[in-house]
Subunit: 282 residues, 2 copies
């Protein structure tokens, strides 16, 4: 685990995740650090980069600026992000003994894409633990299903990079048979078997199809307004057990909450987002 | 509802909530608006102002700066807040047709107390609704119990201003008989019967005793690291049904999530926070 915990600040690492979310400091002041990075192609659905992928880029810059891994990070999504260069400006708000808090913006040619606020530090600072909830129960990885689209249409490049598998019973939406429950459970891994660190968890938090695909609502990719991820630990090696669900769909806004456990059964992240159900064209 | 929806921007209103969380603009620029306000006495536990109360003050300033009510607001807590004057600086990040996004800081004599990031706009923008979860079931308001302390020690002033009532069965921690489940369900109202608007909901989200009081852990007030509130609508008149629970206590950090329904059974807010269990003195 010590080796993994270092990955997130190791910008020289050649592993894929650091390649894909690499950031380079261009200017470092007392409180403000600027980074240059690139929203790489192949992390989009329909031309707009995935929200978790964008959060991972910005979260890496923030973690490097304050020198600590993320504990709780919130991103608000301001406009779509095509592939291309971006700038990240990180402002350290407070750097204390236990935690550091920072704000950030991620800006592309089209304007500001993300606004972020996060607290960084030790995800396991020491103190009591009480476990009352078991990890989500899943069939073996190989007995789970590929995410959509299954056969018709090209598989988005993003789903070739990830090795997401969906629990049988939660994948019916792929064939027009939604389960009727707005939840999707399954496994997350990188296709190349790469280890998942604290920055990778930010991507995992938004990597599954929207749980509302399993309702009777017409399937539509729902733009995220805000995503908050609590990173509760660095995963041990192996695919992650994930459970995403939407509980409250109201007047065009909906929540999505997620839990992510590692191979040892430890909760490593919780997420919650508020998203917008697109109004039908008139 | 239209009349209530206006309360949050009516700084001239004489109702208690606006008195207690009033903000006055001192400087308005193109993107930055500054406000003066006061953390009033009587909203503290042990000398530190309640986190929801602080979020309500800052949230009001942000809502006034962008001219819209909160939809999703995140606050990170940087240091304790005694009663006293404070300054709030709001920076509008983006003001679009549907939503406006802003960051803010709340600063007191001791330094910066809060960092915030929120999106403001219409909580019910229109679109599909699907209700699968019913409001939490509670006995009648008058059949529920007062929050702690019950008989020993003075009742904190805050609990005299609020009319919180706890579901029988969830109140055993008051007498040293915790239920064993980290949850507290109950009613929320203001003691003077005042209506609860979108700003008031920010206070409600942190107004109950910590659910971990119902575990076997020694009762300790847990400082909030980060609190995110999704405001899903303006409540109809009447006490609110509330459900707060902690599911993951790990190595000294714990989550707390909440749901708040109005008298018509509509979900009006969801909350989630990450808090720190204090290390025992050595």
């Amino acid at each position: 685990m010590p080796a993994m915990a270092g990955v997130f600040v190791d910008a020289t690492s050649v592993n894929r995740r650091v390649t894909e979310t690499a950031v380079g400091a261009t200017e470092a002041g007392a409180d403000v650090t600027r980074f240059a990075a690139e929203v790489k192609p192949g992390w989009d659905i329909g031309g707009n980069a995935n929200g978790g992928y964008l959060m991972a880029i910005a979260g890496r810059a923030m973690a490097e600026a304050v020198g600590r891994p993320p504990v709780t990070l919130t991103a608000h999504y301001l406009r779509p992000a095509p592939a291309g260069p971006c700038d990240i400006e990180v402002t350290t708000v407070r750097s204390g003994r236990r935690f550091a808090t920072a704000t950030a913006t991620l800006t592309m040619a089209s304007g500001q894409v993300l606004a972020l606020l996060g607290t960084f530090g030790d995800q396991t600072p020491g103190g009591p633990s009480r476990t009352t909830e078991a990890p989500v129960v899943l069939p073996d990885y190989d007995d789970c299903e590929l995410p959509p689209p299954s056969t018709d249409g090209p598989v988005p490049e993003m789903f070739r990079r990830l090795a997401v598998r969906i629990r049988p019973g939660d994948e019916g939406f792929r064939a027009g048979n939604p389960s009727g429950r707005a939840e999707i459970r399954g496994w997350f891994a990188f296709a190349d078997g790469e280890l998942i660190d604290a920055i990778g968890l930010l991507l995992v938090a938004d990597a599954f199809p929207p749980p509302i695909f399993n309702t009777d609502l017409p399937a539509a990719w729902v733009p995220t307004v805000e995503l908050t991820v609590h990173v509760r630990g660095v995963p041990e090696p192996g695919p992650l057990r994930c459970w995403f669900r939407t509980r409250f769909i109201h007047d065009g806004l909906l929540d999505e909450e997620g839990e992510i456990w590692d191979s040892t059964g430890k909760l490593v992240a919780q997420s919650r987002q508020l998203a917008l159900y697109p109004r039908p064209p008139v």
